[in-house]
Amino acid sequence: MKAKAHRGDPFDALGNSYRRAIVELLADQPHSVQEIADRMPISRPAVSRHLRLLNRAGLVTDQQVGTRRLYRLDEQGAEAARKYLAQVWGHVGTRFRLFAENTRPLTQRR
């Protein structure tokens, strides 16, 4: 799995309850895709899709251990999570500020 090609957004990563659940599961210990799928009401391919998105958001990484591929929280994940929310809200804030500062009060427009 190639890491961090781009960052996800909140709707693609922590905005989804299954992905938050996977993050919580991996906080306990590394797991294979099958182990994660066994604990959740979604299919193995669905788990793989969620893991790919979490990987792109920099939250999860993987490692081959013998015949098994194990997924774990990225050690840099805390920083990634902070940056990722800061990036999203920063983007929203910047666009909002530009708009609000360059428009007249809506109720006082002549």
């Binding site: 957004d9 909140p10 709707f11 693609d12 922590l14 905005g15 989804n16 309850s17 938050r20 659940a21 993050v23 919580e24 599961l25 906080a27 306990d28 210990q29 604990r39 959740m40 009401p41 929280l73 994940g77 805390a78 920083e79 999570a81 902070r82 929310l85 800061a86 999203v88 809200w89 920063g90 983007h91 929203v92 804030g93 666009r95 909002f96 500020r97 530009l98 708009f99 609000a100 500062e101 428009t103 007249r104 009060p105 809506l106 109720t107």
Partner: protein, 147 residues
């Protein structure tokens, strides 16, 4: 308890304009890549009352719900449940405070929390993974806090 994400910034306009711009003109500034449809020309609409819907409407007329207004206190405070791309029962909480500054500009304070609201499915094994929950994840999410 997972620490909410917090951030703030100042805007050179009065709170009533900032509040109105946030709630009535979101279509003009909300990044289209952070919509559910990702479609250019999508409108973002707030129903201006507690219990009001927050949703987007694509140019084709498709409506996708984002959340629900929990507190409507213009021009000071806005709170909503935000469940874009997930089920309503797994919504996160967004609070926007519009604080008037002495120079009549506005400080926008954003708090985005409710990350612990994982729903019943997660709840069942959350009990089984208490060590993990109490260990790594809180520090993981507390790092989301911006000082």
């Amino acid at each position: 308890m997972i620490e909410p994400f917090r951030t703030s910034f100042d805007v050179a306009c009065a709170p009533d304009h900032a509040f109105a711009a946030w709630t009535q003109k979101a279509s003009s500034w909300w990044p289209v890549e952070h919509t559910a449809s990702h479609e250019a020309g999508t409108k973002i609409l707030f129903e201006p009352r507690v219990g009001g819907r927050i949703f987007e409407r694509t140019p084709g007329g498709l409506e996708i719900e984002w959340g629900e207004v929990v507190e409507w206190d213009p021009p000071r405070r806005l709170r909503y449940l935000w469940h874009i791309a997930t089920d309503p029962e797994h919504a996160t909480d967004v609070e926007i405070v519009f604080r008037e500054l002495p120079d009549s500009s506005t400080r926008i304070e954003i708090e985005h929390g409710g990350w612990e609201r994982l729903g019943e499915i997660a709840q069942s094994w959350r009990e089984a993974n208490r060590a993990g929950w109490d260990g790594v994840l809180p520090s993981y999410m507390s790092a989301c806090r911006v000082s």
